[in-house]
């Protein structure tokens, strides 16, 4: 059993939890992920490691409430325990040797971009962080990101924080102002990572994206998470989740993400209905 030692609601849809998992905390590196299962009968869900404390022995996850399992998790509290928590999985990001890097996080992707920015910053790279949200109420990790970057630009789709625009516009502007990045890291929804990759391709800037396909085991034994990268089939759980954004077939990845749309809705509806029932009782 893996105890929840900290819970913090970052915005109405996004929750941070620190989990007591000393063995994982000891080995975790930015870019790696865990898989959790809440209880018997539950599904296995992957989440990127947002932070870790090797001394205290905790691993931090940040997730958005999108369906049944994440909703159930968000209803748990400090002191409750998860049945299964396994990791660190995937290959750690290769962050050594870069001088100037743009780290881009879209929405929840900011939580995954954060440990990467932190690591790059600690390695001495100049980090420009760009995070994007739909509106100002959804902004997360602004302070944390501020601390690990030389420049932080937080954009909102609707301009409600006074800085309207998409992350791609911000990046383009920074490049056109003469910033010479030797790496761009883009983490967020597939459409956003695709748009960033298309932009950086024109400028010939190496771009890493963090893919988040459907997964079951996370150890390379089923291929449920497969993607086409550079014309070859790759398993995101063991070959990734980081890949060269210029080589990923994003359209295929977007189609594959819809595989269980119908079943996910069915499962969520039943859960919400049960909750409603409980309230009425």
């Amino acid at each position: 059993m893996f105890k929840i030692v900290k819970k913090q609601v970052l915005n109405p849809q996004v929750v941070l939890m620190s989990i007591d998992a000393p063995l994982i905390a000891k080995k975790a590196e930015p870019g790696q992920f865990i898989i959790f299962r809440i209880a018997e009968g539950g599904e296995r869900i992957p989440l990127t490691i947002a932070d870790y404390d090797r001394e205290v022995g905790t691993v931090t996850i940040i997730y958005q409430i999108v369906g049944k399992t994440t909703r159930e998790l968000s209803e748990m509290n400090e002191g409750d325990s998860l049945l299964d928590f396994v990791g660190p999985l995937g290959v750690a990001s290769h962050l050594d040797g870069y001088k100037k890097v743009a780290v881009i996080g879209g929405g929840l992707g900011s939580a995954i971009a954060y440990p990467q920015a932190k690591k790059l910053h600690s390695l001495g790279a100049e980090v420009h962080a760009i995070t994007g949200f739909r509106n100002k109420d959804l902004i997360i990790l602004e302070e944390e990101m501020e601390k690990v970057s030389n420049k932080l630009i937080v954009a909102t789709d609707d301009g409600s924080n006074g800085n309207k625009g998409f992350v791609t516009n911000v990046l383009k502007q920074l490049i056109d102002e003469g910033n010479k990045y030797d790496l761009v890291i883009a983490i967020g929804p597939l459409v956003m990572m695709k748009a960033v990759s298309n932009l950086t391709r024109e400028y010939g800037i190496k771009t890493l994206v963090s893919m988040n396909p459907v997964m079951i085991d996370g150890t390379g034994m089923c291929g449920g998470c497969r993607l086409t990268v550079g014309g070859k089939t790759k398993f995101a759980c063991v070959d990734g989740p980081d890949f060269d954004g210029h080589e990923v077939d994003f359209d295929e990845a977007m189609r594959r993400q819809n595989m269980y749309k119908k079943q996910e809705k069915e499962s969520t509806d039943i859960h919400v209905c049960r909750l409603g029932g409980a309230k009425n009782a």
């Binding site: 009968g41 299964d84 034994m221 089923c222 291929g223 449920g224 063991v238 819809n258 269980y260």
Partner: protein, 464 residues
Amino acid sequence: MPNMSLTKVKMPEQEPDIRNKNFKEVALGYDEKMAIEEAQRCLNCKHKPCVSGCPVNVKIPEFIQLVAEGKFEEAYNKIRETNSLPAVCGRVCPQESQCEMVCVRTNKGESVGIGRLERFVADWYMQNVKSSVNKPESNGVKVAVVGSGPAGLTCAGDLAKMGYQVTIFEAFHVPGGVLMYGIPEFRLPKALVQQEIQTVKDLGVDIQTNMVIGRVLSVEDLKEQGYKAVFIGSGAGLPSFMGIPGENYNGVYSANEFLTRINLMGAYKFPSTDTPVFVGKNVAVVGGGNVAMDAARSAKRLGAENVYIIYRRSEAEMPARLEEVHHAKEEGIIFKVLTNPKQILGTEDGWVKGMECVEMELGEPDKSGRRRPVEKKGSEHVVDLETVIIAIGQSPNPLISSTTPGLDIQSWGGIIVEEETGATSKSGVYAGGDAVTGAATVILAMGAGKKAAEAIDKYIRQNQ
């Protein structure tokens, strides 16, 4: 007087048209009377070819004589001397190519139903005897086992019996390996697998789940933690794909993914469990092994109307157990043999809509002695489908070999070992089962686990 009937006592089964709609066990097992009657067919012959036909050398005539006398508990103890998982082996071993193939009764008629009797004895024991196995005295020497499939469980059980303090590290949330995620409930009930694993735990074996060796701890870490030897029984879990166009359309599964969703995650009970699985009206399973049969029969049970087995050779070459091919046919699985997929066809939004196949004919024998299938010109045709399941084999997962310096592997990923001992190129590290051989059978993995346990004992004694 022995029972001279030429055929085995028939085992009751669920009717095909009922069982192909549920996941309950198909073969229902013998009752005491049937078991005694079948046991009396054993001639208790002097040279016992059956024993050498069994990879873990179960004392077959001895336990069968005890069954014939109605001494079921004694029969169980006799089997357990050499086999840690009799309820499993009795169900899933390909007996027709092992113990039963060499039974003297096959000179005239059917062999003795050794597998059925082993299964009966194990089931009878679980239902009737509550006392747990006596825990052996510990010698305090730690041994680590990576993987809790048949190889690891056998190796761990045997080492525990010798007094070692054994810890099994399992990547999944439940132990059992392929017994849990691969072989379906209708062939091997999961509660029974867990009960059988409990008997290994009762010997003092500690099983730690959620431990992906190669990530959370390396083999080196284990040695540093004081484990005097390590056995790698991590299996062959890496699925092969065909490399044809269209394999990433929605609706294309590896058999590993399909079966893991169903067996391990209980997706056939969705939405009372949370893991979904998708099958359309028309399903093709590509391959001819046991995994293909399991996937096809599972798809049928999930409500698919037409389930095809697509296999490029003829039925005679199919590696699946005869009994399972027979069961699949009874349940309405359609066999399209001598047929090979060329490409998977998809809709505009990326879902499977069919598969282009070509007919094959058998040409000259290849290196393995099997006649090589050759395409028949102009026989291309399209099968309409919504789901494709690829069951053309698995190879060993590279997670451990790639994170263990000094561990020699074959070009296809199998760990290289000394055949007699399971010793790898790394001192104190042993390996066995599918991690060494590529996908094979449960009982061969158990045989390898057994040999390695003996070798590990010898190694530790010599190095103390």
